[in-house]
Structures are given as structure tokens and as C-alpha cells.
């Protein structure tokens, strides 16, 4: 399976009090942008640390770029951005970056050249200020995150692993990160990132895996996952007299024989029909309730909806950041 960047087979990790990951298998094709989705505490970070051989699984095997992840040489071709970010505070930015690059086997002179390139590219080195010469703790939080991101990519890795890359990023840095991921994809690198922000995943990923409570809920290409869950989702927009018809519409959407779940966003609703109910029936009832319908469309569900449907809204942590600010 040389065309797989990551192959995880039957991996489990147990801690004293709980099972962090249970019998997880993943296959990430080379050149893909892959999302590892799940609520907080689902086992995403544990999975990623096992990928990088930072912690060892109790059972199962992990293959990266066609070689065991216990092979030190393979780690040199991987870039990793952990969720908890940090650099040596009292060290000069340039020296930290050279250290990280040298740890990946990049010779010092070559590292220096790439560091300059990246510092300029991310506007950390301009005509009037070279932040590379400053100490890490003189940089703002946003700049430190950029520096850390440079450290992840300096050795031009074939596989980039990002743990919650969007958490704590301001919109400008988030955009820079998205651009960088797209650029990596264009250069045929593999990117896997974990997130609980479905919007980002939906826009960026070729394929996803949703995990909850340490177990895989589903995986596959984004298009495949959506097609699998399509056919029973309806996008509904109401016109200006929405307020008048609000109670009536609410009653219709509350009918569990017709609607399994409705995501009420005031003027826009994403609706999942109950098993056996037909869209015509729903449209009829909504109009009968006095609402003026602007849009009524059979749609593929968003990852957000699939996630809610499969993991369940009762799952703690799901609500955190669901609206997406990245």
C-alpha cells in the first residue's frame, strides 16, 4: 500500500482510568488533506501522538509513508504542529528554528537560507524589522504561532500533522494557515489535521474521519460521506413574515413523526427528516402554517449535521466552537 501516507491498523491506547483510543484504523492517501474530527476528549491528540511515536500504542501498528513509525528516519520527513504550542522563550527565533531544522537533519547553512525565505514570506522579516533576530518572548502571540508554523515546515516534510491548528489563531493567521495547507496540497504533500471546527474541515478536507469516545464513527472522502448521508436533509429559508408564522413553523418542526432534527438558525433551518417522512409532506405543513417559503431544497447534509447525527448532540464538548470562527 505504497500510495498511503498513513496507515493505522487496530490501534488501542488504554490509560489507568479510561480507554483513550479503541481499535482505531485509518487510511490516508498520499497527497490528501485529511481531517480528524471529533469532540474534545475524543482521542484526537492521543491518536496524533501515537502517529508520531511520542506515545506507544498498547496494540496495533502504524505505518507512515510506507515505513513503521518506529523508524527514526521516517520522522525526519514529517512536520508536526502540536496543539499546545511553545518555543524556547529566551532563545533567538532564528536559533530556535535552526535547532528544529537540524533536529530533522537539515544542515545549518541550508536551514538558514530557508529560515530567511519563510520569515519574509510570513512577514516576520521586513525592510525595517527582522523578528528573526529577536528573542521568542519578544514576539506577539500571533508572531510566535507563525514562527512555530515555520518550524513545522522548514525541512519540507512529505507528511504534515497539525493538531487543532486553528485554535487560538486570529483570522489573518488562520487565513495564512489555510493558504499554506492549500500550497502543500498543490505540491503533493499530505496534510492531516485534527479539529472540532466542522466548517474548516468541510472546506479544506478531501477526506475525514470522525471519532468519538476513542472510537471511529465514520470515515471516507467528504463527498462520499455526504452522499451516504444525503436524501433526507432539507434546507429551508423563510421570508419576511417569518415572525408571524414562527409558532406554527416551530410546531411543524417539533413534530417528531416528520422531523428528526432541525437546526434552527432563525431564518434558516437545516432539517433532517424523520425516517419514512417525505419532503412534500413537510413543505405542505410549513405552508399551511402560514410561512412564506423562500427556499426549500433537498440538500446534502453539512459535516456539521452528519457529525450531530452520528455523534449526538448530547456528547459533551460538541457545542464548543461549532459555529466556527476559523
Amino acid at each position: 500500500m505504497a500510495d498511503l501516507a498513513i496507515e493505522v491498523r487496530g490501534v488501542s491506547k488504554r490509560y489507568a482510568q479510561h480507554v483513550a483510543v479503541r481499535d482505531l484504523s485509518l487510511a490516508v492517501p498520499r497527497g490528501a488533506v485529511y481531517g480528524l474530527l471529533g469532540p474534545n476528549g475524543a482521542g484526537k491528540t492521543t491518536t496524533i501522538r501515537m502517529l508520531l511515536n511520542i506515545i506507544a500504542p498498547d496494540s496495533g501498528t502504524i505505518t507512515l509513508l510506507g515505513r513503521s513509525n518506529r523508524d527514526d528516519a521516517v520522522l525526519d520527513r514529517i512536520g508536526y504542529l502540536p496543539e499546545e504550542r511553545g518555543l524556547y522563550k529566551k532563545m533567538q527565533v532564528r536559533k530556535v528554528l535552526r535547532f528544529l531544522a537540524e533536529l530533522k537533519g537539515v544542515p545549518g547553512a541550508e536551514a538558514d537560507r530557508r529560515i530567511d525565505e519563510w520569515l519574509e514570506r510570513l512577514a516576520l522579516k521586513t525592510a525595517d524589522k527582522d523578528w528573526g533576530a529577536a528573542k521568542v518572548d519578544e514576539l506577539s502571540r500571533g508572531m510566535q504561532q507563525k514562527a512555530q508554523f515555520i518550524g513545522t515546515l522548514l525541512h519540507d516534510p512529505d507528511l504534515v500533522i497539525l493538531d487543532e491548528p486553528f485554535s487560538g489563531l486570529d483570522p489573518i493567521n488562520a487565513q495564512a494557515l489555510k493558504d499554506a495547507v492549500v500550497d502543500l496540497k498543490r505540491r503533493n504533500k499530505t496534510v492531516i489535521f485534527s479539529t472540532h471546527l466542522m466548517d474548516n474541515a468541510e472546506r479544506m478536507c478531501d477526506a475525514v474521519c470522525i471519532i468519538a469516545r476513542g472510537e471511529k464513527v465514520l470515515d471516507g472522502s467528504v463527498a462520499g460521506v455526504k452522499a451516504e448521508h444525503g436524501g433526507s436533509h432539507i434546507a429551508l429559508s423563510l421570508g419576511d413574515n417569518a415572525a408571524a408564522a414562527k409558532n406554527g413553523v416551530a410546531a411543524v418542526l417539533g413534530d417528531r413523526s416528520l422531523v428528526r432534527r432541525a437546526d434552527d438558525q432563525n431564518r434558516f433551518f437545516e432539517i433532517e427528516l424523520a425516517p419514512g417522512a417525505s419532503p412534500q409532506q413537510l413543505l405542505h405543513r410549513v405552508i399551511a402554517a402560514g410561512a412564506s417559503v423562500e427556499r426549500f431544497e433537498l440538500v446534502q447534509p453539512s459535516l456539521h449535521q452528519i457529525f450531530l447525527q452520528r455523534v449526538g448532540a448530547d456528547n459533551l464538548g460538541v457545542e464548543v466552537g461549532m459555529s466556527g470562527h476559523g
Binding site: A16, R49, L52, I54, I55, A56, D72, L75, D76, I78, Y80, L81, P82, E84, R85, G86, L87, Y88, K89, K90, M91, K95, F99, L100, E102, L103, K104, G105, Q148, G151
Partner: protein, 455 residues
């Protein structure tokens, strides 16, 4: 190996380029030199100024002993100072106290004079002094060894002379016989040769031991802070995704150890350099004092001087190599423990608590230094130099003072190495788990689980 080298390089360069490292490396030798030379210089000065002058001799012997002690003290005054002519009058007064008259009254008068500053002190001679038993001296300079020695010597000589004369021996003969004084020179005898008295070795052993002890604390804590920094800033996770925690730990300990060796080599070299610059001045004034002393007929002071000047420690290259081995064993043993503590804790306060057991081992070893110094051949000294936690500190001290059987040295090194391996293994496991573990400080049971589960 290449990655290990990258880690060592960072640990070393980041510390050596720190401005506090530069400052402490340059300033400490000045401090060390002051520590070595100032006391010696002060001793020399006090020896020169230890002249017995202007004292009152209360003579209650009724045999004219006071006058003879007076002239004996005057005669002992260095000729060099007076340029060959009779010494200047030291202004001593002999007060003869008639037998039967109250001695206490004469004493209170004399002590009033001393308090008023018109006399430097007073010496009481009585029948006991004549019999060679006792005499008393009182004065503000009574704690000066040199002053008391001189007076004691004069009184003893005069007493002996008078008793010999009483036994019917010719005074000239008495003078000739009592002016001879036996000198004891002590040599340290070892299996490989003989050296000077232990004085230089004791000083050297003490200095080396203190340096070892301080270095282990200093650089061990440095390792701990390094680990804590990586944990607190969360940089550890990035680093261990590139290099195994074992290599990171090894690189850190080796890098900091190299910093320690660099600093100590510079300290030795700079202190020796300052010493070479200062020594000529020092030797000149020491020679002058020694001449004065010799002029008095080979006093004890002159012997002390020559011991001090010639008391360079007799240390072989082999011993220096062994000292280095013990430093490395001690440093590796304790820095592994310090690193484990660093990986266990979340902040400085927790670190101080968790350090307790480690510091008890270290400070306990330092408490053993004094008893071992007094008796380096005792059972206590032997055991302390064999038990791995104290051996890196105590064995070097013993080695510089007495001849330690090679078998004991070998056992000490072997035990130390065994512990180094055991504790590195334990520390590496605790480090592996602890580095990425945040939250509550682990209990002993949790630590044991960390060690078991770290694969």
C-alpha cells in the same frame, strides 16, 4: 547520533553564550584568589606585628624570675629590625611583688594600667611558674597565638634554666643546652612515595570536594530547570516528535555537563593565572617574615611558614583522572535525579517539594565531609566513600588525604556506575511520561506506574 549532537550543541551554546555565565566565569576566579591569598596575607601581617611589648611582669617568685623573663623576651626580639644594634626598649616593666604581699592588689593595679592603655598586658609569675607548672597572662591580645607563644616560651625557658641551676648545673651550660630545640617534620607516606605534610592535601581535598559538591548542585539544578522549561513552554512535544526523549535527556545532561567542565577549567586556569601574578609579592613578604622568625632561633612560626609555602598538594595525574571520574559519576547520578524531578513537576514550588529527597541525599553527603576530614581512615569514612550517593563526594576527599586501597576505589567506582545506569534508566522512563503530562504532581504509586508503562 547526529540528533544527540544537535541537542548537546544547543544546550551548550545557549548556556555558554548567556551573559550570566560569562560574568560568573570571569568574576569567580577573583573571588577564589581573594579567598586563597587574603587569609594567608593577613596571617603574615599578624605574624609580623606579633611583638611582645610594654607588658607588666608581676614577679611573686621572690627569686628574680621576672627580670630573667624580661631579658629573655628582649633577647628574642629580631635583630634585623634593630639593624644589628641592641633592640629598642620594648618598654617592659618588672614589678616585684614581695612574698606575703597581696598579689590580687598588684594584679588589679596592673589590669587598670592595661585598661588605661599604658600597658599591653600583664604576666603573673609565682611559685608555680618557678616550679615549671603554670603562669598567667592577661591582656587584650591574649588570643593572639604568636604573642602567647612567645611569652610562654620565655617563661618556660627561664623556669627550666632556673631549675637546672638549682640542681647545680653551670648557668652557661644551661644556656647552651636549652637553646637547642627539637623540630618535628612530618611526611605523608604512601605506597607510591612520600610527600609533604597533609596540610596542603587537606586544603586541596577540601577545595576539590566543595567544588564537586557545589558543581553537582549547581549543574544538576540547571538540568532540572532546562527540563522544566521544555515542559512549561510545551516545546518538549515538538522536540520529542523529532528526537527520542532518551536522546533529549542524554543530550541535555551531556550538554550541561560540558558547560560545567568548561566553567571549571576556566576557573582553574584563571585562578592559577591570578595566582602566578600575585604569588611573587606574596612570597617576598613571606620570606621577610620567615627571616625574622629564623632570627629568633627556629620558632614554631617559621615551621608553619615553611609548611604553608611548601605545602603544595602531592597529587598525581592518575588521581586527577580519578577525581574527574568521581565528578562525572556524581554529576550523572544526581542530574538524572534532578531531570526526573523536573519532568514530574509543573512549577517552581512543586519542584522545591519534589527536590526534598534528592537534596537530603546531597546535603547528607556534605555533612559527612567534616568527620571524614578529621579521620579519613575511620569506618564512617570508608562506608561513606563506598555508598553510591555519598561516594562521589567523600571518596575524592579521602583519596587526597590518605592512601585508599585500590580495591575500595574500584568498588566505589563500580557501585557509582551501577547507580548511574539504574537511575538514568529510571529517570528516562519518568522523563518520557512526565514531559507530556500536565496537571497534578504524581504520587509515588503513579510514578511507579509511569516507570512501568513507559515503553
Amino acid at each position: 547520533m547526529a540528533k544527540l549532537w544537535v541537542v548537546i550543541k544547543r544546550e551548550y551554546l545557549e548556556r555558554v553564550q548567556n551573559k550570566w555565565f560569562v560574568i560568573s566565569t570571569l568574576l569567580a576566579p577573583l573571588f577564589f584568589s581573594a579567598l586563597i591569598f587574603l587569609p594567608a596575607l593577613l596571617t603574615l601581617r599578624s605574624m609580623r606585628s606579633a611583638q611582645v611589648a610594654n607588658i607588666i611582669i608581676l614577679d611573686a617568685t621572690g627569686a628574680g624570675m621576672g627580670a630573667r623573663v624580661d631579658s629573655s623576651i628582649r633577647a628574642a626580639r629580631p635583630r634585623a629590625e634593630a639593624g644589628g644594634v641592641p633592640a629598642a626598649d620594648p618598654g617592659m616593666q618588672v614589678r616585684v611583688v614581695e612574698p606575703g604581699a597581696p598579689l590580687a592588689q598588684a594584679e588589679s593595679l596592673a589590669s587598670r594600667d592595661v585598661r588605661a592603655g599604658t600597658a599591653g598586658g600583664y604576666l603573673v609569675l609565682d611559685a608555680g611558674s618557678l616550679a615549671g607548672d603554670s603562669a598567667r597572662y592577661a591582656g587584650p591580645n591574649a588570643s593572639s597565638r604568636a604573642v602567647v607563644d612567645k611569652i610562654e616560651r620565655a617563661a618556660r625557658d627561664v623556669s627550666l634554666g632556673m631549675r637546672l641551676e638549682g640542681a647545680g648545673i653551670d648557668p652557661a651550660k644551661v644556656q647552651q643546652l636549652t637553646s637547642k630545640r627539637l623540630r618535628l617534620s612530618a611526611e605523608r607516606l604512601t605506597a607510591t612515595g612520600r610527600g609533604r605534610t597533609g596540610m596542603g592535601n587537606v586544603m586541596f581535598g577540601m577545595a576539590v570536594t566543595l567544588l564537586l559538591y557545589l558543581s553537582i548542585i549547581l549543574y544538576g539544578q540547571n538540568v532540572m530547570r532546562g527540563v522544566m522549561e521544555e515542559k512549561q513552554t510545551r516545546v518538549a512535544e515538538v522536540v520529542v516528535s523529532s528526537v527520542s526523549p532518551d536522546k533529549l535527556l542524554a543530550g541535555k545532561i551531556l550538554g550541561v555537563g560540558a558547560v560545567g567542565l568548561t566553567q571549571q577549567i576556566l576557573w582553574f586556569a584563571l585562578t592559577a593565572g591570578i595566582g602566578a601574578y600575585v604569588a611573587p609579592f606574596f612570597a617576598k613578604s613571606a620570606r621577610a617574615v620567615a627571616q625574622d622568625m629564623m632570627a629568633q632561633g627556629g620558632s614554631a612560626g617559621a615551621r608553619d611558614m615553611s609548611a604553608m609555602m611548601g605545602g603544595m598538594p602531592s597529587i598525581t595525574i592518575g588521581q586527577v583522572a580519578l577525581l574527574l571520574v568521581f565528578f562525572l559519576i556524581g554529576y550523572f547520578l544526581y542530574s538524572a535525579l534532578f531531570a526526573a524531578v523536573g519532568a514530574m513537576v509543573n512549577d517552581e514550588r512543586e519542584a522545591q517539594q519534589a527536590l526534598g529527597p534528592v537534596m537530603i541525599l546531597l546535603i547528607g553527603s556534605s555533612f559527612l565531609m567534616q568527620p571524614v576530614m578529621f579521620n579519613p581512615s575511620s569506618d564512617l569514612a570508608r562506608w561513606a566513600s563506598l555508598i553510591p550517593f555519598s561516594s562521589p563526594i567523600i571518596m575524592p576527599l579521602r583519596m587526597t588525604m590518605v592512601q585508599v586501597p585500590p580495591l575500595e576505589i574500584a568498588a566505589s567506582v563500580a557501585g557509582g556506575l551501577l547507580m548511574v545506569f539504574l537511575f538514568s534508566w529510571l529517570a528516562a522512563r519518568i522523563y518520557r511520561v512526565g514531559l507530556l503530562m500536565y496537571g497534578k504532581k504524581p504520587s509515588m504509586a503513579e510514578l511507579a506506574r509511569w516507570v512501568r508503562q513507559a515503553a
